[in-house]
Amino acid sequence: MERQIIVKAKDGLHARPAAIFVKAASDVGSPVTIGMAGQTPVPANSILAVMGLGVRCGDTVILSSESEQALDVLDGLLSHVEE
């Protein structure tokens, strides 16, 4: 399943927010991918791939996973990181 999320972190998915997101994605127990419209999705547990997307604040990302719960966790994180 997929979910579209607007990223709220001030720096987008870069440096610290990216590290927090990747750590969480490594811990959810199911593989998750993250992508942006028109780009190939990348594994959410790879900091290099996630930073390589160049996601900025306000961008919409698409998370995809077999696990609804994993999506809930990461959705909460991306919508609420306020830095």
Binding site: H14, A19, K23, V42, P43, L48, A49
Partner: protein, 537 residues
């Protein structure tokens, strides 16, 4: 030469190597690097800690390791070449994106260099190989890594991070390796370019002219000609012992070769840094024994573990403190972890056995007569007679007479004494103007300790960085200091200036400095009174 030089393009696995085993080795190295980075992150604070945690995630990045693993499996590349190519792939992609991403390229390359160092068996730090001695340029270098460098091979160090009073700088100076730290341009230095560095002035010339090289060589030659005879004295024959500050046996060898009369400060924490567990009594005894043997027939002053504040030790599991410089550090750790001190004293007693070296032991950060008495008792229990104190805390300087009625000797650590007297963190760059051992407030403290020593017939020495300043050495001698301990490279200059100055002149300049109102005034008066300083440059 830059740290992290490129493995030969197309370098293949050694014939007969199982690629699957090589991939496992690469993964093991990456995991070790990630753990190490997390450990350093724990020991750091604020943004540095966050950056290091993110860097640890890079070392553990599954896509990166898969890419490198594929290069080993499918193209038979050696693990170091494979991780190099995988990281360069990411780095060029990030550079193409630019902006914030381009800034992360440094982290990717740092991870790359660390993994390559690990997988090629060079330990934590990747010291590149080269057929001739060279200057090492790196983003950063840990004190523990610096302590392992070979001064005969590494002619100098230039790093982007760190500063002149950081631990790495002190370790490098002790090992006689000229070091320029905190140079922003270090990142732009390319591999193989000629460099002219001056560790004393903190300058780097990239691609110097022939005239500049000739000039530098002439100065180095003049400096080498001022070798140290092995006995410090004033022009009229008053003895001032000139000792060396060391951190390990290799430092002791360099100090002995440089003519030091003994060791005035053996910083034992160097052997503890970068360890996740405390060294055993036997391990410590072996290290101390090597130093004690090198200085057979001379004096070795061992300072017990000085951790805390800027030197955290992971195995002590100390909670973060609001104000570490005023917290549990130095001798205070022994209150919470008595076995650390007991083990250390047992190791020292064991190491002294049967060697004809005068071994003295001193405690860091002594603040009261009670501290000195407890330390003396602990030493006595281990059969160690010569137990002294470091004077770094103003209360110890003020109470020197009473403390030296208990302690056998005192050694003044001017770096810490200055920061405590002036209430100015010595690592805090904007406060640098307060950190000046020429300040009359500091000099009056030193004078007070000397008086306390004289009242009890106990020797007082100086082992801070200021002892290496020839002008201050004269002032200290004039105040009644019996020994000066410094980085071995500074011995010839200090010996030269002392040998050209009479004790009467030392006393006159010392008293003139004590009477000044400011550090600048004291420095000017002393410098003007010592024309011999002009010989030094």
């Amino acid at each position: 030469m830059r740290r992290g030089s490129e493995p030969v393009p197309g370098a293949l696995l050694a014939p007969g190597t199982d690629p699957a085993v090589a991939v496992e080795r690469l993964q093991g190295a990456a995991e070790a690097v990630a753990c190490k980075l997390e450990q350093i992150a724990c020991e750091s604070e604020g943004s540095a800690s966050e950056v290091l945690e993110a860097t640890a995630l890079i070392a553990r990045d599954p896509s990166l390791l898969t890419a490198a693993g594929d290069l080993v499996m499918c193209e038979n590349l050696s693990p170091d070449r494979a991780i190099w190519e995988a990281c360069e792939g990411v780095a060029s992609q990030f550079e193409a994106i630019g902006g914030l991403m381009a800034e992360r390229v440094t982290d990717v390359r740092d991870v790359r260099d660390r993994i390559i160092a690990h997988v090629t068996g060079q330990g934590d730090v990747g010291i590149p190989e080269r057929p001739e001695p060279f200057i090492l340029v790196a983003t950063d270098l840990a004190p523990a890594d610096t302590a392992r460098l070979d001064p005969a091979w590494i002619l100098g160090i230039v790093t982007r991070d760190g500063g002149a009073t950081s631990h790495t700088a002190i370790v490098a100076r002790e090992r006689g390796i000229p070091a320029v730290l905190g140079l922003a341009e270090a990142e732009e230095i390319t591999d193989g370019v000629d460099l002219l560095i001056d560790g004393t002035k903190g300058t780097v010339v990239i691609g110097p002219t022939k005239a500049q090289v000739r000039d530098a060589e002439a100065k180095a030659k003049a400096r080498a000609a001022r070798s140290f005879s092995g006995k410090g004295h004033t022009a009229d024959g008053h003895r001032i012992k000139l000792l060396a500050n060391i951190g390990d046996a290799r430092g002791a060898e360099a100090a002995a070769a440089g003519g030091a009369e003994g060791v005035g400060l053996f910083r034992t924490e160097v052997a503890f840094l970068g360890r996740t567990d405390a060294p055993t009594v036997n391990e410590q005894a072996r290290e101390y024994r090597r130093v004690i043997e090198i200085f057979e027939g001379k004096t070795v002053t061992i300072r017990t573990l000085d951790a805390g504040a800027d030197k955290p030790l992971p195995f002590l599991h100390m909670p973060p403190e609001e104000n570490p410089a005023l917290g549990v550090r130095g001798l205070r750790i022994a209150e919470l972890h008595p076995t650390i001190l007991d083990d250390q004293l047992a190791a020292i007693a064991m190491a002294c056995d049967g060697v004809d070296t005068e071994v003295r032991v001193m405690a860091p950060l002594v603040a009261s007569v009670g501290d000195a008495a407890r330390f003396k008792d602990a030493c006595t229990r281990h059969g160690i007679d010569e137990s002294g104190v470091m004077v770094e805390v103003p209360s110890a300087a003020i109470m020197a007479k009473e403390i030296l009625a208990v302690a056998s000797f005192a050694s003044i650590g001017t770096n810490d004494l200055t920061q405590y007297v002036m209430a100015a963190d010595r690592m805090n760059a904007p406060l640098a103007k307060y950190i000046d051992a020429f300040h009359p407030a500091v000099l009056r403290m030193v004078a007070q300790v000397c008086q306390g020593g004289a009242a009890n017939g106990r020797p007082v020495g100086v082992c801070g960085e200021s002892a290496a300043n020839p002008a201050l050495a004269v002032v200290f001698a004039g105040l009644g200091i019996a020994s000066l301990s410094m980085a071995v490279v500074s011995l010839p200059d200090v010996a030269h200036v002392l040998a050209s100055t009479t004790m009467e002149q030392c006393r006159r300049l010392a008293h003139a400095a004590l009477d000044c109102a400011t550090a600048d005034e004291a420095r000017r008066i002393v410098t003007e009174g010592l024309p011999v300083l002009a010989d030094l440059d």
